[in-house]
Each structure stands twice: as structure tokens, then as C-alpha cells.
Amino acid sequence: MSRCLILFLLFSSFSVQGKMVKKIEKVMYYKYMFGHLHQNPSKYSTSLTTIGCAHPLRVYSVKTSGSKPRMVFNKEWYFVKAGPYEGYIRSQQLSRRKPKCFQDKYPKFVDQFDMEISDMYNWGRLYDLYLFKRTRVR
């Protein structure tokens, strides 16, 4: 009886795992001053954590049962892991190479402004809400 129970539990755990399979595809870096990792692929979704420039993020591909693995959600969002948090971030905010960050280039200058946690949060929100565009090359 106990063997049956163990087998059942094992089987059910496999089936739960089988619903969503995550695989780390690449490591990318956050390229702006501050940013947010979101709970859902939307800029208005809850922020799980604030990340700073050059923060490394592991980008997942996700495969759900019966579908192909995919990396992009809601047109432009990656599912990533930052430290202990797993959430969504816009793909255009990430860079393949470690970026040259303003706060790394001028660390003592930035320190002088005594930025509080709320400022870093707001700075990240600013980059969530900016409408970006670049005009084409001549």
C-alpha cells in the first residue's frame, strides 16, 4: 500500500513538472540605470524587485505541455531569473554584453546624491514607462 502511495506521489510530481519546463537559454545584462522585474509580462504589473545597471539575468525558454518552447511573452517580454526572483522584463532593456553603466563610470559622483530606495524604485519605473523611439540612420 505504501509503495503504491509513493509511486502515486512520484507520478503526480512528474506530471506537475511536466506542465512547465524552464531552460536557461542565455545570460543577459540590464542596460539602463535601474529597472524592475515584473510578476507578469506588463509594465503595470507588480514589481518583484528593483535591479541596477549591469545586473546579470538568466533568460529562460519555457515549454508548456503540448507547445513549443518560447522565450518571448506578450510580444517583448523575457522570463528571467534575477537572484532568487523569477519574473518578466522587456527584451529591449537587456543587453548581451555587460553594459558600460553610468553609476560604474562615475561611482563617487552618483553617491553624492544620496539616493533612497524609493528613488531607485522610481527610476526603474521611469524606464518602464518611457516611450522610446530612435530615428533612423541617415
Binding site: F102, Y106, F109, Q112, D119, W123, L129, R134, R138
Partner: protein, 297 residues
């Protein structure tokens, strides 16, 4: 006993490693060796062992490391130059003014940035980064903030564009007017004190950081955006510039003219926006400057 000794040694070595690794400027092995060994006192021995050349190499290597470290330390105290500092200051101002500006709110995708990009390209402005932040307040209607080289930050009020029922093209023209102002340096010239030129791009190692100067700049951001705005002369120049630019494309000229008419009417009828003329003097005058002069025969 042996075990106790091993544990003590291990913990000591671990603590010393942890302490050393925490220091940002911990010395390299070569530097420590250089401090410990006095090569001058053993010159005779070195000569006998034919090691003089090796010592020379080692000493020059240590000097190089020290030089690089000094340079790295000095670079940490750099103040960004004018081509980099503005985006930091403008964004800092946006962050600090978040409670007043109320830019963190949900809104639909208006597609403003796409339409503005097309207008910029049509006007011949290429490889430009545009950042638009929409605010949910009538306190600021529209404004371009100085930013890094090739980048422009725009603040645009959603209540303002809704009250005027502005089309995407009208919004783009409004932003283009702001773009021209910021390019002419009206904003930056107003907010930066005379001493700014010598501070930007300098190094403050061993000196007091010019805190007051940056406080003044941020205070002047408030001044120009909320109270002072631009001068009649600046407005005249901008209006004349846009007049010249848009004359070659009458579609834009007409939109600009209609837009100014709308704003003029709004500022005269809506109390919420009667402070607009203080910031952008004045839509009525701008219309006059745009109107072709009647020839007296």
C-alpha cells in the same frame, strides 16, 4: 587537540581572507612582495646570482600596478562631462518630482512616439533617441529636458492633450517645438550656473563635492518648468524658426497654426491652464508672428 588547532587556523585564514577581499583597493601579491623585500640591501647577492635584470622587471611591474591603481582611484571621482551629465540630472529631477508630476499611472498606448519619430525624420533629424514620459497632471503641459548627446527627454501632460483633444500630428508638432527649444540650449543655459562649465568633466578627489551647485541646478529645473518658462525673445525665435521650416510643408504649417489657436483659446477660457502663458509667452503673440503681414497698397 590537532583538530582544534586546524579549525582555529582555518577560521583565522578565512577571516583574514574575508577582510582582505572586502577592501576595494587590496594590494596585489607583487606589491606586498615589493614592500617586504628591500632589494637595495641585497644588491650584492642579486648580482652574484645574476638576478639584477629580474629585479628590475619586478620593480617596474610593481610601479605599473601602482600607477594603474592610482589612475583607477582618481577616475572614480570624475564628474561627468556636459555630454553625459544632463540625462542624469533630468532623470534625477523626474524621479524626485514623481509625486508632483504623477507619471506613474496606467494609460493606453497612444502611438505618440511613432508619429513624432516620423516627423523628426521628415525634418531631417536622424539617429536621435527620443524618450517621452506622459504625466497625469496639468501642472506641466509639455516640456523637453536636456539630455545626453543625441538624446531628448520629453514631458507631456495627458490631461492637457485630452482637454485640447489633440491629434497625434498636433502632439508631434508640439513636441517638435519643444525639441527646437532644447536644441537651442534655452533650458540648459537657464539652469546651469556660470561655474558649471568648470565643474562638469572635472575631478573632485581631495576636494569638496560641489553639492550646492547641483542643488541649484535642480531648483532651477523647478523654476523654469513651473514658474519662469521662456522669454518673449526665445518664443519669437522659435516661432520664426518653425514658420520657416513648416512653410515648405503647408500641411505642418496649418497644423501648427491650428494648434496655437487651440492653445490660445484654452488659456483664455480654462482657469486650469491660465498659467501656460507664463511658461510659453504667448500663443496669441505667436499667432501674430505667424500671420502673414498684410501689404498696404
Amino acid at each position: 587537540m590537532k583538530k582544534l588547532l586546524l579549525v582555529t587556523l582555518f577560521s583565522f585564514s578565512f577571516f583574514s581572507f574575508a577582510q582582505n577581499s572586502g577592501k576595494p583597493t587590496s594590494k596585489t601579491i607583487e606589491e606586498k612582495e615589493g614592500e617586504l623585500v628591500d632589494f637595495k640591501s641585497i644588491q650584492g647577492v642579486l648580482k652574484e646570482d645574476m638576478l639584477t635584470q629580474e629585479v628590475k622587471k619586478k620593480v617596474s611591474r610593481i610601479q605599473n600596478i601602482k600607477k594603474k591603481r592610482k589612475k583607477r582611484d582618481l577616475q572614480k571621482y570624475l564628474i561627468p562631462g556636459e555630454d553625459e551629465i544632463w540625462s542624469f540630472l533630468s532623470e534625477l529631477w523626474l524621479v524626485k518630482s514623481a509625486p508632483v508630476l504623477k507619471w506613474d499611472f496606467q494609460k493606453p498606448e497612444y502611438g505618440i512616439e511613432e508619429s513624432f519619430k516620423e516627423l523628426l525624420e521628415e525634418m531631417g533629424h536622424y539617429e536621435i533617441d527620443v524618450k517621452v514620459i506622459l504625466v497625469n497632471t496639468p501642472v506641466v503641459t509639455h516640456m523637453a529636458l536636456p539630455s545626453s548627446k543625441g538624446e531628448y527627454i520629453f514631458v507631456l501632460s495627458v490631461p492637457f492633450m485630452r482637454t485640447l483633444d489633440l491629434s497625434k500630428m498636433e502632439i508631434s508638432i508640439l513636441l517638435f517645438e519643444d525639441f527646437m527649444r532644447v536644441r537651442k540650449g534655452y533650458f540648459a543655459n537657464f539652469v546651469k550656473p556660470a561655474s558649471f562649465g568648470s565643474v562638469a568633466g572635472s575631478n573632485f578627489k581631495g576636494e569638496k563635492f560641489p553639492n550646492a551647485l547641483f542643488k541649484t541646478i535642480l531648483k532651477k529645473y523647478d523654476d523654469i518648468i513651473f514658474d519662469r518658462g521662456f522669454t518673449f525673445q526665445q518664443q519669437f525665435e522659435i516661432t520664426k524658426d518653425l514658420n520657416r521650416l513648416f512653410k515648405s510643408n503647408m500641411k505642418y504649417w496649418n497644423i501648427y497654426y491650428t494648434l496655437l489657436k487651440k492653445i490660445d483659446e484654452l488659456t483664455k477660457t480654462n482657469l486650469l491652464y491660465n498659467g501656460y502663458v507664463k511658461i510659453f509667452p504667448s500663443p496669441e503673440l505667436q499667432l501674430n508672428w505667424l500671420r502673414p503681414k498684410k501689404e498696404v497698397l
